[in-house]
């Protein structure tokens, strides 16, 4: 019975949070047109969020690409299928790994930074201070940060993918001795712009929205104490990671 009660309570909490996030999203969307009148604030956030994550994303992209190159080369060379290595690596990256790994890294780096920044602004009464200066913190703080994450994610994903492909090329061609032409040439025929590339871009757009929304939501509703902010930061990573994986499955099912 206790287990059943816990499950029921957990489900009720999930629904309540889901509802709160949805309402928060509606508030953000309602304030977005006015926030767009201040593009400077948004671009500043794209810069902050993007620059925060750029080195991490590039390093991760490089090593993910190198691992893919190594693994696929070893496996495929056993079947004499090295000529498919290029397209396989690109498809794996563009369709799945690029958007998902970027979103997970983004949640850990930029998402936590956003949540803790907003949480601390709340704890130090900066948000209340804005309210008292007749400046809406939703419009000045929350919406630009959400849009910053939303815009930065596809850009970071593109950078991740590009570096990862170069990483795979470096391993397969430079280290394992595969022919460069064999690596690049089959790509145009096997990678479709609409199905593969745009599908991946769409995923990264959704992940950007989810990661941005959850980070600003957790920060904005954080209990204004040190413990509250730390809890909000942790929740941002956990909830964003789970949401990205669930969304990934749903989007893949729709796009496939």
């Amino acid at each position: 019975m206790t287990l059943l009660n816990d499950l029921r309570k957990g489900f009720a909490e999930f629904l309540a949070t889901f509802g709160a996030v949805s309402i928060f999203l509606l508030r953000i969307l309602a304030d977005t047109p006015r926030a767009l009148l201040r593009p400077g604030l948004i671009f500043r956030q794209v810069h902050v969020v993007g620059a925060n994550s750029l080195v991490l994303i590039m390093m991760a992209g490089l090593f993910v690409g190198m691992v893919l190159g190594l693994q696929f080369y070893n496996t495929m060379s056993k079947f004499g299928a090295e000529q498919s290595l290029g397209p396989v690596v690109v498809l794996a990256l563009v369709r799945e790994l690029g958007p998902v790994v970027t979103a997970l890294l983004f949640a850990g780096r930029a998402g936590t930074a956003l949540a803790s920044e907003i949480g601390l602004m709340k704890a130090t009464e900066q948000l209340a201070g804005m309210e008292m200066m007749a400046v809406d913190p939703m419009r000045y703080v929350v919406v630009p940060r959400f849009l910053g994450a939303f815009i930065a994610m596809p850009l970071l994903t593109a950078i991740f993918n590009a570096i990862a492909i170069l990483g795979a090329w470096a391993v397969a061609v430079q280290m394992m001795g595969m022919d460069g032409g064999q690596f690049w040439a089959p790509m145009p025929d096997n990678v479709d712009v609409y199905d593969d590339v745009l599908g991946g871009v769409m995923k990264s757009v959704f992940f950007g929205a989810a990661a941005g929304l959850l980070a600003v939501f957790e920060g904005y509703r954080a209990y204004p104490t040190a413990e509250g902010v730390s809890r909000a930061t942790t929740r941002t990573v956990v909830v964003t990671a789970m949401s990205v994986l669930v969304l990934d499955y749903m989007l893949t099912a729709i796009l496939i």
């Binding site: 209340a128 008292m132 200066m133 007749a134």
Partner: protein, 271 residues
């Protein structure tokens, strides 16, 4: 005094947080041009009162009128319009940490006006000069001491030339020099700018120095009201305990608890 001298009028204000009653029907008149202080022991809801007056909280019952407008009845835009006429000094300053001192003070001007940059610069510098910190314009809030941060916040609070200004515990945690500076600023700004000031504090000496009228709050009610002189001469035991800082009196030293003998030796003893 005529009624139109009253800028903020509170009638029958009730407010509870959970099961704790913070205000149980209080009446307050804050007059134009005066410094009005609210004092009382910690936890009596002094800060809550400021938040109610400025529309950050809504009362459970009763009315709060500022310039004749009922605050709880205002929609968001009207509330923001009212707040543009208010300055609010938070306990910790609440400076925006990602902006420089200059940009912090310029913030309300940039958000609410379309003034050219040279004019904004002059206005900000004048306000910084008024609080004696023009030299810190290029610093960040992290480089300021607590007292300096509060003075910068004060410059920001007056940069829009408000009609009224609210100070939330302006003397907490300040050294005697900073405290003296803030006391002087509250008094001088009120006179020079023709402000109406509301100060929340429990520093008896400082409040007595700056205020024209003091309200003493306790147990959700106004227990005394008058000029500092009147309160000092009051024969109410409660007022005397507070004004003279006596440890025990109508406000007991001990939080309600079972008899100590029972607690240590008897049934109340915990494992």
């Amino acid at each position: 005094m005529a009624d139109n001298d009253v800028l903020i009028e509170i009638r029958g204000l009730k407010y509870s947080r959970g099961s704790t009653v913070i205000f149980d029907g209080i009446d307050v008149d804050i007059r134009k041009g005066e410094v009005t202080a609210f004092m009382g022991p910690s936890g009596t809801g002094k800060t809550t009162l400021l938040r109610l007056i400025t529309g950050q909280l809504r009362p459970d019952a009763g009315t709060i009128r500022v310039s004749g407008e009922e605050v709880a009845g205002l929609d968001r835009n009207a509330l923001y319009d009212l707040r543009k006429r208010m300055g609010f000094l938070f306990q910790n300053g609440a400076l925006l940490t990602d902006l420089s001192v200059f940009e912090n003070v310029a913030f309300p001007l940039r958000e609410h006006t379309r003034l050219p940059d040279p004019l904004i610069r002059d206005m900000v510098m004048m306000k910084l000069q008024a609080v004696g910190l023009r030299g810190t314009a290029s610093m960040t809030p992290a480089e300021l001491s607590g007292g300096m941060a509060r003075r910068i916040a004060l410059a920001r609070a007056i940069v829009m030339d408000p009609e009224m200004i609210f100070y939330d515990e302006p003397f907490v945690g300040l050294d005697p020099i900073s405290m003296g500076q803030i006391v002087r600023l509250i008094k001088r700004l009120n006179e020079a700018l023709g402000l109406t000031s509301v100060v929340v504090s429990h520093d008896v000496a400082e409040i007595s120095e700056v205020s024209d009228c003091i309200y003493l709050l306790a147990g959700g009610r106004v227990v005394a009201r008058g000029s500092p002189q009147q309160l000092r001469e009051s024969d109410s035991e409660w007022v005397r305990q507070f004004m003279e800082g006596l440890a025990d009196g109508p406000v007991p030293f001990h939080y309600p608890a079972p008899e100590i003998r029972d607690d240590l030796l008897g049934e109340g003893k915990r494992a």
